[in-house]
Symmetry: C2
Subunit: 140 residues, 2 copies
């Protein structure tokens, strides 16, 4: 996905609780801007705790899931940023799933919806974080 | 993804040129409701020809890409439908990519956007097919 913005602005939205709360879930706490820091994301249906494994300013953020649904534990959420023309290109992966379960497919589409929320936040000033996120199915 | 609708309605939107034109690209031609039929999807930046390999009414549609960008040739686009409570659950895969190139990552997010267009078409009567699709990056 590409966002018409500087990489610094996208990096801030991925590494501060305030930025994350504006596109992912309003109930975000923790330290996203220090190695080993833990981000706590809470949703109506549950939540995830992610430990910050790598931080390369304006280039990459890597989280490890340390608490949440069993299928998410030990998976990695990986954000790579690159400036191409007017865009910050966001290369996103959530990898390490043990099995390609239906829940993985749900999460795949839901991540895309949240990525579009991030893009919207930065380009228009308004994201769609939970509880105002776009619902995609009976799992939400 | 889940759509609040009957599976028959979703199946029709995947197997008729009229249905496909309302959520994927307005420039859709061909026969999507017969085995061996070819669907021609055209976009501003190019297009894809897909051959219908499998049709199981209200359950599954499988296409093979026979013309388009080199990376797409011989890949398969797979739609599985299932009724769960009030929802038609759409399990979508575009598989057979030879390499996990950047273009694949672009297409992954773009497919999610088109799936949301399909959902919107059926739930609200209005999709967002090309050229009114949601643009996600510098590749469109």
């Amino acid at each position: 996905m590409g966002i018409k913005s500087s990489v610094a602005e996208v990096y801030a939205a991925l590494t501060t609780a305030e930025g994350l709360a504006d596109w992912y879930t309003t109930d975000t706490k923790g330290e996203g801007d220090e190695l080993g820091g833990v981000l706590q994301f809470r949703f109506e249906a549950g939540g995830f705790d992610m430990k910050v494994l790598e931080l390369h300013p304006d280039k990459r953020v890597l989280w490890e899931v340390i608490d949440g649904p069993e299928e998410w534990i030990d998976t990695h959420v990986d954000w790579k940023l690159d400036q191409v023309d007017d865009y910050t290109i966001v290369l996103f992966k959530h990898e390490g799933w043990k099995e390609p379960v239906d829940f993985m497919h749900h999460c795949s589409t839901k991540w895309a919806v949240f990525m579009m929320s991030l893009k919207s936040l930065i380009e228009t000033g308004k994201g769609a974080p939970e509880p105002d996120d776009v619902k995609i199915d009976n799992w939400n």
